[in-house]
Symmetry: C3
Subunit: 432 residues, 3 copies
């Protein structure tokens, strides 16, 4: 073996290792579809379980197609600061170049595509939970296609595709904003357009709690999501050039989940008088969402604080949305929107320049002043305004055309019978 | 470090990386046992759930032992074009050589063994679903041992073990035929010998649909299987020498699943008037089975077409089997047999020489004429005839000896009470 | 690229590959939390499901914090033969050195930490099942924090942290003793202090079997645990320097599970007259626990024997504990304590020097005499005495302070209503 062979072998090995890492973590993120399906269906009533399961099963298929056909090019294709313009609708026949914004990772193009696709799919599943138990199957499908194919890629281009927010110095390592708050804003628009489930809010303004039908599924889903997040955050290195950074990210991610669980448990115990299981699980998800932006930029103690705050935020947010009669059956807004925002801003507070190879500059608490925090706030506002406005428009068009809400009879009788002619638990005696 | 050290280190790294990849993907394929257990039990009635769960739990244990003792040597051992003959029943004391057909991958022997074992186990789990709700526990166990130890390895030897079909130029990258249609043919023989469940077909010839008892489990299982398929197909490279090929395979696999889900949903919506969840999930599995043979040989658009056809095929196949009173509670024949055949033939249509390092030659649609398609058809017929005939004989012997079917009383009362003295959901009120 | 670059690149690749392996397997072990949650909740009654799920969800969060704050330093920090003393309560501000006992693996410190953390978490989840259906939520939480933060790390230090048992020549590759029997001893103390569930033992001394409420969850959990064990055992190499050894470990692990399932099925069929599903699943876990100590030290046939014995042991142990009125709702003592001991001793019987790079010396059956077996017995007794004594003291203090057992009313009405104000399956008709 001569020197040329060594160089070739080393390069093959390096690309091979990076590809294994990116694919492995992409598969974990794909697996989060199971987590969302179980959390969302478990927290709803059994009469709507088939509907929610079907939505969650089909949504990734739709995402796979729409992101392939147009979303990927809009997000990562070369273009302008606002949108990518490469190979849209296969205009250039599936070229292997023209994606400069993601050329920093050396893995094969299809590996990059798959990793980004599973992220795009996540945004759509977030919406699914918030609009559950009253949305028409068809209008959810159409919205999901538009979200993944057209909306998500545009704001994603701003931040990860070489767009204006990336140029500005806005940092979101694994997607507190790109994925989670985008899903949250889109969901919020849907919740407003749809209105609350029948019977959720009483005439006197009080809340009628609607219990989930299967807490085992919710717990299962929560643990699957936590597991999947080990792909979501550490995988966002999209390569193994710095093993230390990856290990650091895995630990910040886990630590934020842990402190969020504890703080959410304590907060719920104080506020509700009991350690509420759905709050414990949503606490974990809140911590994970919040650390997603900063997992590679903050220290482990910093992650612990970010998570602890997230756990309290989610417990406070749930009744707050209820106060505004924003009916979110699974707490998706409290988890993904509120903590997507918190996690993005937290980068401006806790970032430590140079940690795990970080180049954000210092956040406020590390002596970096308000610059980074201001950039983060700009991104939060810009992405929020864009996503909420477009989502509101799309939901409104759907309302005027195919309609967004099932009939009163279908809602009362359950979407499973009305929309699918099926029941989730045949043979079981169930009372509503 | 001198030049010799470099070469050694590079070799250690290369084998290490390949081993990590093969083990990781083997674990994912192992995990498909969970997917099958949940899909199959969920689609049956609760009174038979313990029985199905027990079958699915024990079947991989039986596979592990019988494949170790004899199957592995029959399949990959050096021998003749029809069967391998190395170390059968430990005749040579566990030799590390004599498996030339699988020496193309450099991973350690036990890694090869484990990866092939989890594939062999899959074939047996396919049978489990088709014969559910009326088979005797003991006769399923015996059949599974024979299938994994003796039948599967022989046809597998023809295709992957250096046998006559491999020599002919029959291509099956990850096992549409080797695993899925073999499982399907074995199941078909079982379904015929067993006859339909009591009450499935009415005297007037119409079908009495028997609803699954837990669609959350079915959805869970479907997503676990999809997840596991990222091991099944990309892992079949059994090495990381070409990262691009692996990424390509991951994307063809996912794309076929996606288009199959959409086409199955649309087809079911048209035929049944509703988007049926079990059809959506079986659509995904159909697409995955169909792309298994060609995932490394076809383009991503080719995969999209293969999947789209698979999704329609499964929706058409389910009522077709019912028309012949072939009672398959979970749709295993429609998924694994029909689409195993379709996927194998599709290689002859869509293969593109040179794509992802492919050496099949071109299929019909890529200008390669009918040669490849003819070879694929020969393999489909030969493996089908062999497996169905032997399986029919084995089931027949079982019927004459231990018996294959539980008593009428046990079937009506549920196999859980009859065969296991247990119930799956103690405390729940259930009506049949 | 000159020679220095080669060396650097090779080192980066080697550390990168090892890091990917350690993190990947750590994630799998983390996922075992799901397995434990499902097995434990499924084997209990639905009225206590929320409580068990909540315990299993929060316990890893508590473990993450207490192991970070103190446990890691006690276990792997430099100190004396009895305890580590590095960076306790962050005394040294998170130093990157002072952990010589685990410097044999070159992965980044946080990767080592995370891998060890997920093992520590497992010990606590073992306790959860044995004390289920009557323990106070708060006292379980406190006990788990003490176990993971203070008890587990001390005995772990003896064996893996450079302590006196490691010096003596006691071998436990992946933790049959370090993790499983420690969890088992701690659980035994809890079971004794708590007493049996109301109604489990009749006045005439006979056992009133209490059926689990969801065998699908139990099966799901069992398969998730089996899947996770592919991280637990092979991952304990904490590096990919010897791919052959890793593949060997994966196969010994799987083979022991397989033979244990078969032997447990047969034993249960003989003793109980039926193939009992919970015994089949506990058989798998018993085999996995038993092979954990020796997976890298014994041959594949040796593993098969160890597993086969484990499967019988678990079937015999369950009624034995009942004879002593030690009420263990999920069989955790039979699985983790009994087979943790058996697996540890089995190293002294079946170890083969040099296999898979093994340096234990030969066990009794490989001609090594009684030395190794004697060392193993010393470890079993020492760790058992230490853990049981401390655990008994901690449980006793909890009993005298916050109390360990819920009230009779709460126990009869279910811990879900009493402790959490919730129900697991809202809407389902359930009779106790």
């Amino acid at each position: 073996m001569d020197v040329v062979d060594y160089a070739t072998t080393l390069n093959t090995l390096t690309v091979g290792l990076d590809t294994v890492w990116v694919l492995f973590t992409a598969f974990l993120v794909f697996f989060m579809n199971l987590g969302f399906a179980m959390v969302e269906s478990g927290l709803c009533r059994s009469k709507n379980a088939v509907n929610i399961l079907a939505k969650n099963f089909i949504v990734f298929a739709l995402a796979s197609i729409s992101y392939w056909v147009i979303g990927w090019g809009l997000m990562f294709g070369n273009g302008n600061p606002f949108v990518g313009l490469t190979n849209l609708l296969f205009a250039n026949g599936g070229v292997d170049e023209g994606f400069d914004a993601i050329s920093w990772t050396q893995v094969p193009l299809w590996a990059k595509f798959l990793f980004q696709l599973v992220f795009a799919g996540t945004a759509a599943t977030i919406v699914s939970g918030a609009v559950a138990e009253r949305i028409k199957f068809l209008s959810f499908i159409v919205f999901a296609v538009v979200l993944v194919g057209l909306m998500y890629p545009v704001s994603g281009h701003w931040i990860w595709g070489g767009g204006w927010l990336q140029t500005l110095g806005f940092w979101d390592f694994a997607g507190s904003t790109v994925v989670h708050s985008v899903g949250g804003w889109a969901a919020l628009a849907g919740v407003i357009i749809l209105g609350p489930r029948l019977g959720k809010y009483r005439a006197d303004g009080t809340v009628n709690p609607i219990m989930g039908h299967n807490m085992a599924l919710v717990t299962l889903g929560g643990l699957v999501l936590w597991f999947g997040w080990f792909g979501f955050n550490p995988g966002s290195t999209m390569g193994v050039g710095d093993g230390s950074a990856i290990a650091h990210i895995a630990v910040t991610t886990n630590t934020a989940a842990a402190t969020a669980i504890v703080s959410a448990t304590v907060a719920a115990w104080i506020m509700l008088g009991k350690p509420d299981l759905s709050m414990i699980i949503n606490g974990a998800l809140a911590g994970l969402v919040a650390i997603t932006a900063g997992c590679a930029f903050v220290s482990v103690p910093g992650a612990a604080i970010i998570g602890a705050v997230a756990g309290v935020l989610v417990v406070l947010a749930v009744p707050t949305f209820d106060r505004f009669k924003l009916d979110d059956p699974v707490g998706a807004l409290s988890v993904h929107l509120v903590n997507g925002i918190w996690g993005t801003l937290a980068v401006g507070l806790f970032a430590i320049d140079g940690i795990a190879g970080n180049a954000t500059g210092n956040g406020l608490f590390a002596g970096g002043g308000l610059t980074l925090l201001a950039h983060q706030a700009v991104g939060v506002v810009a992405v929020g305004a864009f996503t909420f406005a477009i989502a509101f428009a799309v939901w409104s068009v759907l309302k005027l055309t195919v309609g967004v809400r099932v009939t009163r009879e279908e809602e009362l009788g359950g979407l499973d019978r009305g929309e699918h002619g099926a029941e989730a638990y045949a043979g079981f005696q169930i009372i509503d």
